[in-house]
């Protein structure tokens, strides 16, 4: 038995506790901030190294049998997600050294960041339906404080919408978990999976209704239409470091939960996937329309999150296909898409923050001239922006290719048409930022005071690293493809996974 699956929770929780203890000492908090997120990244790397071969690591917490107590479990998918959470955490922790103002840091930016990451990572490694709810709560609380910290007017308005709608999601999740326990008499996901498969034979409609409830509560988290309102309302209000980590991770927890629940926990039933496909198609298009309509960098980027969630969920939806090859392609595509998107999306927000630093505004009407004054930033913007739009040979191209290929193989013409149209509109709105912030001459003759070298370095270093990741995945996608394929194989083997997670492999 390995303690490894507990690390993704223990590291950020300890970092949060230590940071709370060092409440008055900013330097210590910053050091813990970087070390803690780095530790989470290391935990992710270690997990991936152990699980990349297809193993499922299970840790029954407290030594109670996994079926009765709480089990933490990490398979390849969990490991990828933890690794990405660590990478984004580290990037943002470094970026925040320069970007987050002193008062916010003095009032707990770092500990709440750790807390949020603990919730995120906990959701990835738990194998217990109620325990996942707890991690959702930890994540929600951490993110709410981060969102509201500073108390600016629009921040509070956004935070209220965020917390209200997410609490409705939590309530649904809790109710669903309660009913699930009433039906299956267990919370261990593996045991739930085994038992639901039995029940679905006699009570298919009950299982479907229960599935719909989970689907709804996770869709709220993922920001799927029509549950997405909280996202554009809130993501454009806090400091950009906060938006960036939210953009990368929070919705992806919802997508992860959908992915986990509807592959290995719930029996594969067509209705759930039809719903996912429908909502995904609408989400892709409506999200990108929002992005096309906006003129503020963070709002454009926020709407893009929604649109891109559509692609990931579409890939999950496509895994209903009877053809095993398409199923594998679709699920691997979903995992690949998530990995690509987390890196790219966080990075775009981080670039947005630098744009504001250099031009004084997020409003594209007031930006400009950066192609000349900051050509290095132009390159660092183009990489994630074109990747988001699916331009080859960057990571987003392969992600989109997989989804489109799975869609066309499955004969989902409408969905693919939506995906292609959304792809073009994504390009339009990325070019909008490019035109207005980089190519257009700077509007005001009086230049905005340029930040110091150290500040720029701390803000640029994470951007450069993430851009490098995007380029590497783009030029050399096979390794990620292999890992995503491994994850897909595990997701396509619910019985094997359930056995491992329920502790039957002792």
């Amino acid at each position: 038995m390995s303690l490894l699956p507990a690390l993704p929770v223990l590291v950020p929780l300890s970092a949060a506790a230590l940071s709370f203890a060092a409440w008055k000492r900013l330097a210590v908090q910053q050091a813990i901030g970087v070390a803690g997120t780095g530790g989470l990244l290391a935990a992710g790397v270690a997990l991936l190294a152990k699980t990349a071969g297809g193993a499922v690591l299970v840790l029954p917490v407290g030594g109670w049998p996994a079926r009765f107590g709480i089990a933490l479990a990490a398979d390849t998918l969990s490991a990828i997600m933890v690794l990405l959470a660590g990478l984004m955490g580290l990037a943002v922790a470094v970026y925040a050294l320069a970007d987050v103002d002193r008062p916010r840091k003095a009032f707990g930016f770092y500990p709440f960041l750790h807390l949020m990451l603990a919730g995120v990572a906990g959701s990835f490694v738990t194998a217990d339906m109620f325990n996942m709810y707890v991690w959702f709560e930890v994540m929600l609380l951490g993110s709410f404080v981060l969102l509201a910290l500073g108390g600016e007017r629009d921040q509070m308005a956004g935070a209220m919408k965020y917390v209200t709608l997410n609490l409705i999601g939590s309530a649904l999740f809790l109710s669903a978990a309660g009913v699930l326990y009433a039906v299956t008499k267990t919370l261990n996901m593996g045991e739930v999976s085994t038992r639901l498969a039995l029940i679905a034979g006699h009570h298919p409609h009950l299982v479907l209704a229960l599935g719909a409830l989970f689907l709804t509560s996770f869709a709220i988290k993922a920001g799927l239409f029509p549950f997405t309102f909280w996202l554009p309302a809130s993501y454009a209000t806090p400091p950009v470091a906060v938006s960036a980590v939210f953009a990368g991770l929070l919705t992806k927890v919802g997508v992860y939960a959908l992915l986990r629940t509807f592959t290995v926990v719930f029996p594969v039933m067509e209705r759930n996937f039809r719903i996912l496909l429908l909502l995904a198609g609408i989400t892709m298009v409506l999200g990108v329309l929002g992005a096309v309509s906006r003129f503020e960098i963070r709002k454009i980027l926020s709407f893009h999150i929604i649109s891109q969630i559509g692609y990931m969920v579409a890939a999950l939806g496509l895994s209903i296909s009877p053809d095993p090859e398409i199923r594998r392609l679709a699920l691997a595509g979903a995992v690949f898409y998530i990995a690509h998107h987390i890196v790219v999306k966080t990075n775009l927000f981080l670039v947005g923050g630098v744009i504001r630093r250099l031009t004084g505004s997020f409003d594209l009407k007031r930006t400009g001239g950066l192609a000349k004054s900051a050509p290095w930033l132009a390159v660092l913007f183009l990489i994630p922006a074109l990747s988001l739009a699916g331009v080859p040979p960057l990571s987003g191209f392969w992600a989109k290719l997989m989804v489109i290929r799975a869609g066309l193989s499955a004969g989902e013409w409408l969905l693919v048409a939506a995906a292609i149209a959304a792809g073009l509109l994504t390009l339009i709105s990325m070019v909008k930022i490019w035109n207005e912030a980089f190519w257009k001459p700077a509007p005001s003759p009086a230049p905005h005071p340029r930040p110091g070298r150290g500040t720029l370095l701390a803000m640029t270093a994470p951007i450069a690293v993430l851009a490098l990741v995007t380029v590497l995945i783009g030029l050399w996608p096979q390794p990620l493809l292999d890992v995503a394929g491994r994850a897909a194989d595990q997701l396509l083997d619910p019985a094997g996974w359930a056995k491992a997670v329920a502790g039957d492999l002792r």
């Binding site: 709440f112 029940i199 191209f397 066309l408």
Partner: protein, 777 residues
């Protein structure tokens, strides 16, 4: 072959640095790269019909993508054009932009573009080809937008990107479908995406063929500026001249032609192929040729004439016969030479005389003799006059039309009219500026520097050379290229003189008539220009460019309207939508499960049970209706207390105790917090409240149904039995709830402890760090 592509990309990365240090010489320096590659590929000549050399690099085996490069007649011709013209364009750019700050950028983008184009024509794997295809779109976007400080330049670049990028996405769809179809026909892995493997399949019988054909054709049409997607190309004139030369002559816009030629063996030879390509090509060639005559800007004239020639090429490929393919091969090569030369000439004139307006230019022959010479020779080729390569091409084109089995008079008329207009256009750009009075702009004109003369002179000479000795071309490359396109062996025997036979005489008659008519039209251009421009601007108002602009504007306003409709800003709308959606998703299967479900009350409830439920329900309703906050809280507490009693009744004392504790605490806390707030008032209208009530009832009803439905399943409560059994014996606790909380499920509790502790810190932070206290920046 990979090294040639990588070398160009490497040079692209190095170009800004080179430009910084080498300054004026950087064009020459960087041109050495493509020149070296040119010679490397020249060393591969001759390539015989049917011969192909390939090279394979693994890339993404998981998706069937490999870098399989194929050098056959088709790709070799393109390779030579790209690197040869590319080298000259780099030299030219070095002179054209000498001393300008953006020289490094320009050279870098040009090299990026050259590398992408090289990759495109060499790739045999469709997905890899697409990667390079998109890279050419991106690099041409950057090239067109070089002077991005101007709004018109930005919108022209965007137009090019969106039209070609949109077409590119459809093309990708087409390629994926092609791979799926190939997979159905037995090809596995990377073979399903290998163009050379496709030729042996009977794709036209596959159900996906029409979709593939349409998507691929649109992709090619957008890239090669076929109507109605042609409008981005003349707009791309905003780009500096070296860019125009590259975009138009060898490369970017020929990518679509290349693709059609490359896929002809696999997809061609069907009615659909011809029906898609010939009409589009014919409309494009005539429309663009006439439009060319309505322009004043030399570069625009050249741009439209390019579109016209592309139309001719599409028509010829659409016809797909051996003669048509031979004509396409010759025209393509001839056009690459003369059009690149003429664009550089236009740039020289602009540079030397300060304008490109053909109505202002005249008499430059003395001031710019070398430019004049290059332009005149190139224009002869464009006009299709002997002894130029363009003449050979036009002869073949006419020959194809005259000898076609289904000879179409309409098509012959269209072709002649097109060529007449092209002759006039050629004279307009290459003769008009140099002849006549040298009183106007010519007074201050000067010849340009050597780097800007090398390109046009060499290219014009090349056109002349190949025209004089066409058999050198068909022996080394031409026949192989035609063979690669036709998918069957073709032996070309090109000649300037076809002897005395009826067909040859007829064709020659057409050629002569074309030249004479063209000269006549040219002489009337001064008078024709104004009415033609007027008519064109009226056409433009209903043309595709206007659709594009209206579409783009409508997209912004439309998407704004849609987004406002969804993102209203009111939390109550959001909550309503979320709850309704949840009910819509969850209720239908529940309703269907009802008929088979167990009866609602398996045994009649006992009176005290019914009473407790009634009290709980009444308290819940009271909590909603009461206006005093304290009373409402008390009612809420009553509901909780009753539920605790229900737990007790059903023999769960531990749970009951916990519930009472929680309820009591919440009531006390809520009273302390809320009692200081004002009384509740009703703000919403009656109808809204009724609607809210309906939604709430539906949501509550759904949850209740679900809870009831859950009781119909009875599985072994294994975990509960374990808790009950192990609680005292193993965990040493009498209260099972407590043991569950602190031991069996301690991790949950730890998480919640963090939540509560962090909530404390959070409240502290939020209260203290309010903007009034000067906290946030």
């Amino acid at each position: 072959m990979l090294w040639t592509i990588l070398l160009l990309f490497g040079l692209a990365a190095a170009a800004p640095l080179v430009a910084k240090f080498a300054k004026g010489a950087s064009g020459w320096l960087l041109a050495a790269g493509p020149a070296a590659i040119l010679f490397a590929y020249l060393a591969q000549l001759p390539i015989l019909p049917g011969e192909s050399r390939s090279e394979v690099w693994e890339w993404v085996p998981g998706l069937g993508v490999e870098l399989r490069f194929v050098l056959d007649g088709l790709s070799a011709t393109f390779t030579l054009l790209i690197t040869g013209i590319g080298a000259l364009v780099l030299v030219y750019a070095g002179g054209y932009m000498a001393g300008k700050a953006k020289l490094g950028q320009l050279l870098s983008y040009l090299l990026l573009f050259l590398g992408s184009m090289l990759g495109l024509v060499l790739s045999d794997n469709t997905i890899a080809l697409f990667v390079f295809w998109e890279l050419t779109s991106i690099s041409s976007y950057l090239l067109i937008g070089l002077d991005h400080e101007r709004e018109s330049v930005r919108s022209a670049a965007l137009k090019a990107l969106l039209v070609t990028g949109g077409g590119g996405l459809l093309l990708l769809g087409g390629f994926v479908l092609l791979g799926i179809a190939a997979g159905d026909l037995g090809l596995k892995g990377a073979d399903a995406f290998s163009i050379s493997a496709l030729a042996d399949l009977d794709l036209s019988a596959h159900g996906l063929y029409p979709a593939i054909m349409v998507l691929v054709a649109i992709g090619a049409f957008t890239k090669s500026a076929q109507a109605p997607f042609h409008f981005w190309l003349p707009q791309a004139m905003a780009a500096p001249t070296p860019v125009s030369a590259l975009l138009h002559s060898a490369t970017m816009v020929k990518a679509g032609i290349f693709l059609l030629a490359r896929l002809h063996p696999a997809l061609g030879g069907t009615d659909l192929w011809t029906a898609l390509l010939v009409p589009v090509g014919a409309v494009t060639m005539l429309g663009a040729a006439i439009t060319a005559l309505g322009q004043r800007d030399k570069k625009r004239i050249l741009a439209y004439s390019t579109v016209s020639v592309l139309g001719i090429l599409v028509t010829l490929l659409g016809a797909g016969t051996v003669v048509a393919i031979e004509a396409a091969v010759v025209l393509l090569v001839a056009h690459a030479f003369y059009k690149a030369a003429l664009f550089m000439v236009a740039g020289n004139v602009d540079h030397g005389a300060g304008t490109r307006d053909v109505t202002l230019l005249s008499g430059l022959r003395k001031a710019m003799p070398f430019t004049f010479a290059a332009g005149a020779v190139a224009a002869l080729s464009m006009a299709g006059a002997p002894p130029m390569f363009g003449f050979v091409g036009k002869e073949l084109f006419y020959g194809k039309l005259v000898t076609a089995e289904a000879r179409s008079t309409l098509l012959i008329l269209v072709a002649v009219a097109t060529n007449v207009a092209l002759v006039a256009a050629a004279l307009l750009v290459a003769l008009r500026p140099f002849v006549g009075s040298s009183a106007g702009v010519a007074k201050n004109a000067h010849e340009v520097s050597a780097p800007m003369l090398v390109g046009p002179l060499i290219l014009a000479a090349a056109g002349l050379f190949v025209g004089l000795f066409p058999d050198v071309f068909d022996a080394t490359l031409g026949s192989a290229m035609a063979t690669a396109i036709a998918g069957q062996r073709v032996d070309m025997h090109l000649a300037l003189w076809h002897g005395l036979n009826p067909t040859a005489l007829g064709v020659m008659g057409l050629s002569a008539a074309t030249l004479v008519l063209g000269a006549m039209v040219y002489h009337r251009t001064r008078r024709l220009l104004a009415p033609l421009a007027e008519a064109l601007s009226r056409l433009r108002a209903i043309g595709p460019e206007t659709w594009y602009e209206k579409g783009l504007a409508g997209l912004v306003t439309g998407s704004d309207r849609v987004t406002r409709g969804i993102q209203t800003g009111y939390l109550r709308h959001y909550v309503l939508a979320v709850v309704v959606a949840a009910v819509v998703l969850a209720a239908p299967p529940l309703l269907r499960s009802l008929p088979g479900a167990a009866p609602l009350f398996p045994e009649a409830p006992r009176p005290h049970e019914a009473l407790l439920v009634a009290v709980a329900a009444a308290s819940a309703v009271a909590a909603m209706v009461l206006r005093s906050r304290t009373a409402a809280i008390a009612a809420l507490g009553a509901t909780g207390a009753v539920i605790a009693m229900l737990f007790l009744l059903f023999s769960a004392p531990d749970l009951s105790i916990t519930q009472i504790m929680v309820e009591t605490l919440s009531v006390i806390l809520l009273v302390l917090v809320l009692s200081r707030l004002p009384r509740l008032v009703t703000r919403s209208s009656r109808s809204r409240r009724i609607a809210d009530l309906a939604v709430a009832t539906l949501a509550g009803g759904t949850m209740a149904l679900l809870a009831i439905a859950a009781t119909t399943v009875s599985l072994d409560p294994e975990a509960a039995r374990f808790f009950a059994a192990a609680s005292y014996t193993e965990a040493q606790g009498r209260n099972v709830v407590n043991v569950v909380l602190v031991d069996f499920r301690a991790l949950d509790t730890m998480g919640e402890i963090f939540v509560v502790a962090a909530a404390g810190f959070g409240i502290h932070a939020l209260l203290r760090l309010a903007p009034e206290t000067g906290g946030a920046a």
